[in-house]
Amino acid sequence: MSEAHLTMGSHTAPPMEARPFAIPTKKLAMWLFIMADVMTFAACVAAYGFLRNSTPDWPRPFHGVTNVAIMTLVMLTSGLTMLIGLRAAKLGDKSGAFRWIMITAAAGVIFTLLHIRDWMGMMNQGVGLFHNPWGPPAFGAGFFVVTGFSLLHISVGTIALIIVNLRYRSGRYNADDIELMNLFWQFVGLVWLFIVPIVYLMNLAPKA
C-alpha cells in the first residue's frame, strides 16, 4: 500500500514506516545483493589464494598480458560510459541515456569476447579445470573458477543492461532503474580490478 493511500484513509492513521537507511527499497536491495556477491567473490579469491600459497610449485605461465590490459581498459571505459548514460537519464535526456548505455553494453560484449579468447588461449595450451601442463591441476581449477565467475557476472550484466535499457526507452523503467544497473555494472568492474593482479599479474613468468 502506498503512502498516499494510507494518508487518504484517515488523518489519524499512523505514517508508513520509514525506509531503512533513508534510501529507496530497490536501491537497498541492490546494495544487499552486491554485499552478498562481495562475500561470494571474496570466498572464491580466498580459496584461490589458499591454493596458491599452499602449493610450492605453483606455475607462473603468463609471458604477456596484453589481452588482459585491453580487457581492463574496456571495462574501465565502460564504467565511465555507464555513468554518462546515468547522468543523461537523470537529466531527462532519454535518447542520450539509451545511446550511452548501449555503448556500455557493447563494451560488455567486447570484454566477453576478449575473455573467451583468453580462455581459448589457455585451453589450447592444455589447461583445463582438472589439468595443467605446468604442474598442479589446482592452477587450472583456480584460474577458471575465479575468472569464470567474473565472466558470468559480466555477460549476465550485459544482457541485463540491454533489457533494462530497452524497457527504459519504452517507458516501463525510469532513471532510478538505470541507477540500479549502474551499481551492478560498477561492482563487476571493481571485481575485475582485483582479479587482474591476483590471477594474472602475480602469475607473470619471471624474467630470466
Binding site: 600459497n53 555513468l83 537529466l91 591476483i198
Partner: protein, 104 residues
C-alpha cells in the same frame, strides 16, 4: 535518489584517469621481478585504493546517508577480515608439503 549524477561528469572523468594510472602502475609492478608478500601487498594496496574510488564516486556511496555508509563499511570489513583466518592453515599445508611430513 542521489542527485550526484546531475552535478557534471568532471569528477567521473577524473576518477577514470585516476583508475587508469593506478592500473598502469599495477601492470608496471607486475613486470618487475618482485617476489612473495611484497608483491601481494603492493597489488592489494592499489586495488583497495581503486575500490574506494569506485565505491565512493562511481557507485555514489559517498552521497548516501552516513548511517548507510557505516553499515556497508562495517559489514564488509568484518566479513573480509574474518576470511583471513584461512592463511595460517595454508602456511601449515605448505610446510607439510615442503617437508613431506603430514597430510599432502
Amino acid at each position: 535518489m542521489a542527485t550526484a549524477e546531475a552535478q557534471g561528469i568532471g569528477r567521473y572523468i577524473a576518477v577514470y584517469f585516476g583508475l587508469l594510472v593506478i592500473t598502469s602502475l599495477q601492470f608496471f609492478i607486475g613486470y618487475q621481478n618482485i617476489e612473495g608478500s611484497h608483491l601481494v601487498v603492493r597489488f592489494l594496496t592499489f586495488a583497495v585504493i581503486e575500490a574506494v574510488l569506485v565505491v565512493l564516486f562511481w557507485m555514489n556511496l559517498g552521497s548516501e546517508k552516513g548511517v548507510f555508509v557505516k553499515f556497508i563499511i562495517v559489514t564488509m570489513l568484518f566479513v573480509l577480515a574474518t576470511m583471513n583466518y584461512i592463511w595460517t592453515d595454508s602456511f601449515r599445508v605448505l610446510l607439510f608439503r615442503l617437508t613431506g611430513i603430514g597430510p599432502s
